[in-house]
Subunit: 232 residues, 2 copies
Amino acid sequence: MREFKRKSRVLLIDDNADHLRGVKELITLESSYEVVSTTTSANVGINLIKKYRPDIVLMDINMPEKDGLQAIQEIEKLNLGVRIIALSAYDDADLIFRAMKIGAKGYVLKTMASAQLIYAMDEVASGKIYLPTALTSRFFEYFQNSFKNEAEISTEENLLTYLTSREEEVLDLLTQGNNYKGIASKLFISETTVKTHVNNIFQKLQVNDRTQAVLYALNNGFANRRRAKLAL
Amino acid sequence: MREFKRKSRVLLIDDNADHLRGVKELITLESSYEVVSTTTSANVGINLIKKYRPDIVLMDINMPEKDGLQAIQEIEKLNLGVRIIALSAYDDADLIFRAMKIGAKGYVLKTMASAQLIYAMDEVASGKIYLPTALTSRFFEYFQNSFKNEAEISTEENLLTYLTSREEEVLDLLTQGNNYKGIASKLFISETTVKTHVNNIFQKLQVNDRTQAVLYALNNGFANRRRAKLAL
DNA sequence: AGTGTTCTAAATCTTTAGATTGATAAATTC
DNA sequence: GAATTTATCAATCTAAAGATTTAGAACACT
């Protein structure tokens, strides 16, 4: 199935020396991979990555010395295009979720058959992101659960719907940290008009001041939450 | 492989009558499923679900009349324990992400082999969440991309680290919409002390007023964002 | 033509917010 | 033990925010 290509260069990080040796032998048997280096230390591993620039990193995330997830995060920040597959002893949903969130391209259990690891490496080497089916199911349970609260919020009456489009504009500028003067100059209207709008917004959102209005807006899905940056 | 059990009751919603008929015949061939009802209308479908209480719903999400995703959301709100599999013509990452986010237990392309649909139904019927491997990869690309911004933010210097623990307490109360008086009474200190703290917070966060301070806090991971609710 | 909504604006007034300076006591650090 | 940091509080002052009322112009609805 797999074609002949340049061998993918693999780096192994695992504090368990025995497991490390086993995985190395396993991969060495595969014609399409070569192990460029191995280490039992996450910190050393990061330096080896800078040196060898491997295609794939197999990272044990259950290490006492340094948290493997933290190591993944640091490697991702380097932006070297290294594809990391997390190796773990646990099929814990939270661990899987966090690993994928910070950019791991795969997550394989140590207890899984070696063929599973090779398959994951094949997929990741070809640019895909791969999770074994059983872990995918776990991931999605966690994922969907984390959105349940949001869904419940959205069922409540959203007072934001009562705002006029002009009031929305004003509120948008409020959520960027503007004062009356700033809003007035940005909308080319007088400061007193802004005050009128803001007071109407307070009435409609049933709040007492601008901070509460901004919090209500952010908590109830006003615009894109990530767009609400400070305009200083 | 599959054991003999009570047949899973399936309801089909698809505005394409031809496709609807085809899927119905396909499922009827399977000994472990029975189609309890079908409809070409999402709105009718929601009522049929209330009436028949199926185990599984196959929902076409590419419908002109009513958005299938919206329909899924409404069904999920009913909390009937109905497991929904989204059927779509498109392997669009955003569509997949949104469907899974709102609680779909699976997502299958109409172009996929019928065996794929049956397999997805088997998995979902047994309580799992199932996405075909190819779609899982798409999903994760989208998923990881949506976290990239957050990762970049966290690399910037976080001015919140300069706050003392007392200042953090005060800021926490600010992010709940309290004024000076409210903070003073909650911390059992005088209003002037609160003013001092707040002014120090402004200095450290390099902002001009409380709204900007609150926005800075929320945008830079102060506490749990979801905990920042209004205390009115 | 009339009703209602929205956007605009001003005037006035009260309250809150924010800046600044100075001071004390306790805890921490060096 | 001196210096620094932290938490507390007061007084004062200016600026900003917020409440309230009134009102004209534009527009939509019917």
